[in-house]
């Protein structure tokens, strides 16, 4: 009897979670559509995409990055969540919709969820190794804004000539772009980032050369 | 006017239909039932299950029937089905010590606790064709079956040696083994991953490799410590109930080889082990697997690596019959674009060869390039490429 009661309570909790943190209505087709947008963003760094995803209750994360989580995370992935995004509700929603394991160790994370404010260049995310550069953390970062304007100029694979990307002016945003600029020196090790702002998304992988138009050479 | 060959789709459909017709054979005779295959061709079914890594005698028999008796094709059919199955639970490690024994022999002791049990073996049959089977003669029922299956679980021989410390212990360190069905191979592989790959490796391939170690290509002085066959319970731990329950029984063959001892200044000499395990009645496979498992431990045990069976990447990368038969058979696919490339180059080289074969033979064909070779070799770090005249275009 006790067993059955526990199961019922769990189910009610689960219903509550799925109502508040929406999943994908049609998992196979929705995740395919979202993946193609993410793949497009990663293939053509700095291009902006708008993801059609039901928005999560917390504005802090935004629909686009929640869509990335739903599309890419499952029980085979480890997710690190920065303190300012962390909440019991998010953890429950992650467990319920994806089964992903939450980790406290950024070096073992496949994905890291954070905001630009919480970005600390010293956090030891996994950059991969020279032999296995793919074993690196992908950062999913909430940024101030996303626009194809100065000051950061991107070039390299996926970019025909040059592309401007603006993620914001905060110290965190500047530190993020500095970190991306540093990727070249350690290539093929490095961090790949997917930026979200509401339903909008852009990506900058480690192959991208990042230069600030308005400042002295970064790094 | 030339018209390219069309109608591939129709050709494929007709080939499939023809194949099905051939498989069915003479309609005057009754169609082979899957249950008959499971009953009367059980060793084929066991081999298909082992190499497909799926314990399902009925579907293995179906695959064997569908493949017209081609074991490699049947393994492939069942493996391709297996990969679509959801993973519902992970069983507890199987306890082969508590096997319900059908057969159990040791070559290392004349008599053993629990006894030597021959079981249903071909070992001492004289290989004389039994023409009575052509006539469908009655087969009398077995006699010893009941006594055998009622026997108490027998201790494992290697555990007896354990008591004296004569044989190395295989200790479960509790770490989660790699899953070769989900993770790509990552060399060097630990023994748990190697054993998984050997367990689904092609029997003929392992047999040849194991045999090669006996003939001196990486000899490891094996004794068949124990071979056992029988039924083993599969248990699953259900977390919600915090209980371990038996979900069924499967037939297994197990071989534990006892091999030449190692030892060092620090460690006293001990026998080492090779291990083989397979679904069903699959004794030859388990013996070959145990020999190869032991051979692959050469590096770990500080032995020189001198035979092919000791080279882990070579052995493991080529063990899988689904991999191997796929890649060999892909040579049947059209390659005419690449062949055209080769034709083009060959014609050009022959033209040039004819030109240079004339008395005033030019230098370009056999111009020595040793110096460039050496400098290019030294330029290994890539960045030096331009210094040695090597560049991208």
């Amino acid at each position: 009897m006790a067993q059955r009661e526990r199961v019922t309570t769990e189910r009610m909790d689960r219903d509550a979670v799925s109502a508040a943190w929406p999943g994908l209505a049609d998992p196979a087709h929705d995740s395919q559509r979202l993946f193609r947008q993410i793949l497009g963003a990663m293939s053509e760094p700095g291009t902006l995409a708008t993801l059609a995803v039901p928005a999560p209750p917390s504005d802090a994360l935004g629909a686009a990055l929640w869509g990335v989580v739903l599309t890419l995370c499952d029980l085979e992935t480890r997710v690190w969540v920065a303190a300012d995004l962390d909440s019991p509700a998010l953890r429950q929603a992650l467990a319920f919709h994806t089964g992903a394991r939450i980790t406290d160790d950024p070096a073992s994370a496949d994905f890291a969820l954070l905001t630009h404010d919480a970005f600390d260049p010293q956090t030891p995310f996994a950059p991969g190794s020279d032999t296995y550069p793919d074993r690196a953390t992908t950062l999913l970062v909430v940024v101030e804004r996303l626009a194809n304007a100065g000051p950061s100029m991107l070039s390299g694979p996926g970019i025909e000539t040059i592309r401007a990307l603006d993620i914001g002016d905060s110290p965190g945003c500047r530190a993020l772009m500095d970190r991306l600029a540093a990727n070249r020196a350690s290539f093929p090790q490095g961090l790949d980032m997917i930026f979200g702002c509401g339903a909008r998304l852009a990506a900058v992988p480690r192959s991208t050369r990042v230069r600030r138009a308005d400042a002295k050479e970064v790094n | 006017m030339y018209v390219a060959v069309k109608g591939g789709e129709q050709a494929i459909a007709r080939a499939h239909r023809w194949l099905a017709d051939r498989r069915r054979g003479d309609r005057e005779r009754p169609e082979l039932e899957v249950a008959q295959i499971g009953d009367q061709l059980r060793l084929a079914v066991d081999r298909v299950m082992s190499e497909a890594s799926l314990y399902d005698p009925e579907l293995a028999a179906l695959a064997f029937k569908q493949a017209s008796g081609d074991l490699t094709e049947a393994v492939f059919l069942l493996r391709a089905y297996r990969t679509t199955l959801p993973r519902l639970a992970v069983s507890e490690p199987l306890d082969t010590a508590s096997m319900r024994i059908e057969r159990r022999i040791s070559a290392t002791y004349k008599d053993i606790p629990g006894g030597q049990i021959l079981g249903p073996t071909y070992d001492y049959t004289h290989r004389l064709l039994d023409f009575l089977q052509l006539a469908g003669a009655e087969v009398p029922p077995a006699e010893t079956r009941d006594d055998v299956t009622d026997a108490e679980p027998c201790p494992q021989i290697l555990e007896l040696l354990n008591d004296e410390g004569l044989v190395e212990q295989a200790v479960d360190d509790g770490s989660e083994p790699m899953d070769i069905t989900r993770d790509p191979p990552d060399y060097p592989m630990d023994r748990a991953a190697r054993l998984q790959m050997l367990a689904r490796g092609d029997e003929g391939y392992l047999l040849a490799l194991g045999y090669s170690t006996q003939r001196g290509y990486g000899r490891n002085h094996p004794f068949a410590g124990e071979i056992r066959q029988g039924q083993v319970e599969v248990e699953v731990h259900v977390e919600e109930w915090d209980e371990t329950i038996c979900v069924g029984e499967i037939a297994l063959s197990e071989c534990q080889m006892i091999n030449q001892f190692g030892g060092s200044r620090e460690a006293a000499p001990q026998f080492t082990r090779g291990y083989g395990l397979a679904f069903g009645h699959n004794e030859r496979k388990t013996m070959a697997m145990a020999l190869v498992d032991r051979a692959l431990r050469a590096e770990e045990l500080g032995e020189p690596i001198s035979g092919p069976a000791q080279q882990a990447e070579f052995v493991l990368a080529h063990a899988d019959s689904v991999d191997a038969s796929g890649f060999v058979s892909h040579l049947k696919l059209p390659h005419y674009v690449d062949f055209q490339s080769e034709l083009d180059l060959l014609r050009r080289l022959r033209r040039e060869h004819a030109r240079h074969s004339s008395p005033e033979r030019g230098e370009s064909l056999d111009r020595p390039s040793t110096e460039e070779d050496t400098s290019a070799r030294k330029s290994g770090q890539g960045k030096h490429d331009r210094e040695s005249g090597v560049h991208g275009s």
Binding site: H29, S31, Q32, R36, L39, G40, S43, T71, L72, D74, T77, D130, T131, Y132, D134, P157, E160, F187, P188, D192, P205, S207 | Y2, A4, G8, I12, F76, R79, A80, T83, P86, T181, R182, P184, P185, E313, F314, V322, G326, F327, S329, L333, P334, Y336, V337, Q340, E342, D344, L349, E352, S369, E372, D373, A376, Q381, K383, D385, H391, G392, S393
Partner: protein, 277 residues
């Protein structure tokens, strides 16, 4: 198809492949290990490409499948039929109409456009494999950017034949870092890899590796200053469409050794003939 998920693969397998594809795109030319699955066609017959296509394909995509440049070769027919069956997608033979093109051994003659994805079937993804058979060794060579042996191998050809004797699967360097096997396309197609507006994904099923060339990526064919890379040329034009700049197949027309040359890219050849007519 009854009992199977959209595009055959289960969602968890697709996610695993999708994550690997993102890493492949982020590190152009690097071979990402992935948990390749058995597919219902043999290894070596395009299982890597099929897994990639199954992981990216959507219900609204239009798919083209070619083998040797042709839409009507048996394996192309078979793979196209597989996706019609398991994903119900629309298929085409027109390069310009396709969103996703799965290919074996060719890059279409018609230039690809931005937004298209070309999926290559790869038998042996490791360009260094025939120089160094050990995976542990070649992985280290890529890590150290230790590619001297590849140049030595090519130069040995020059020493023996006067030419680089590699005519297909001709190695390239991607974005000035990774040496990559472009799959067994004829070297005629190598220049199309450079700066292509389409995304190019490579899948090796048996070897369980994925790699990618993002759009507009610099891809150089390895060569030497005194022996620059060059592509095949024909003394003939296509007997059907008259093209003098496409890759030609030699067709034996009779048992006296009579032969003719026709475009290997059947769609290209047909559309040219359509224009002329």
């Amino acid at each position: 198809m009854n009992g199977y998920n959209f595009a055959y693969l289960d969602e968890q397998t697709k996610r695993m492949i999708r994550r690997a594809l993102l890493k492949a795109v982020a590190i152009p030319g690097y071979q990402v290990p992935f948990g390749g699955r058995e597919m219902p066609m043999p290894y070596g017959w395009g299982t890597g490409g099929v897994q990639v296509t199954a992981s990216i394909l959507g219900a609204d995509d239009i798919l083209k499948v070619i083998d040797q440049g042709a839409d009507d070769t048996t394996n192309a027919v078979s793979i196209r039929h597989f996706f019609q069956r398991v994903a119900g997608v629309e298929t085409t033979t027109a390069t310009t109409a396709a969103d996703v093109i799965q290919t074996r051994h060719r890059i279409p003659e018609t230039p690809l456009r931005a937004g298209q994805i070309l999926v290559f079937q790869v038998p042996i993804p490791e360009p260094l494999r025939f120089i160094e058979p050990s995976e542990q060794e070649t992985r280290l060579m890529h890590a150290l950017e230790e590619y001297g042996v590849m140049h030595v191998k090519l130069y040995e050809d020059i020493a023996r034949y006067g030419h680089i004797a590699t005519t297909y699967a001709y190695p390239v360097k991607v974005d000035e870092r990774y040496v990559m096997d472009p799959s067994p396309i004829p070297k005629f197609d190598n220049p199309k890899l450079d700066g292509n507006p389409a995304l190019m994904l490579f899948g090796a099923g048996r070897e369980k590796r994925l790699y990618a060339i993002p759009p507009y990526t610099r891809v150089e064919s390895l060569d030497f200053e005194d022996h620059p890379f060059e592509i095949q040329r024909w003394e003939h034009a296509c007997a059907l469409c008259g093209s003098d700049h496409s890759y030609l197949d030699e067709v034996i027309t009779d048992d006296q050794g009579g032969r003719m040359f026709v475009c290997s890219d059947t769609d290209y050849c047909q559309s040219r003939r359509g224009e002329v007519a």
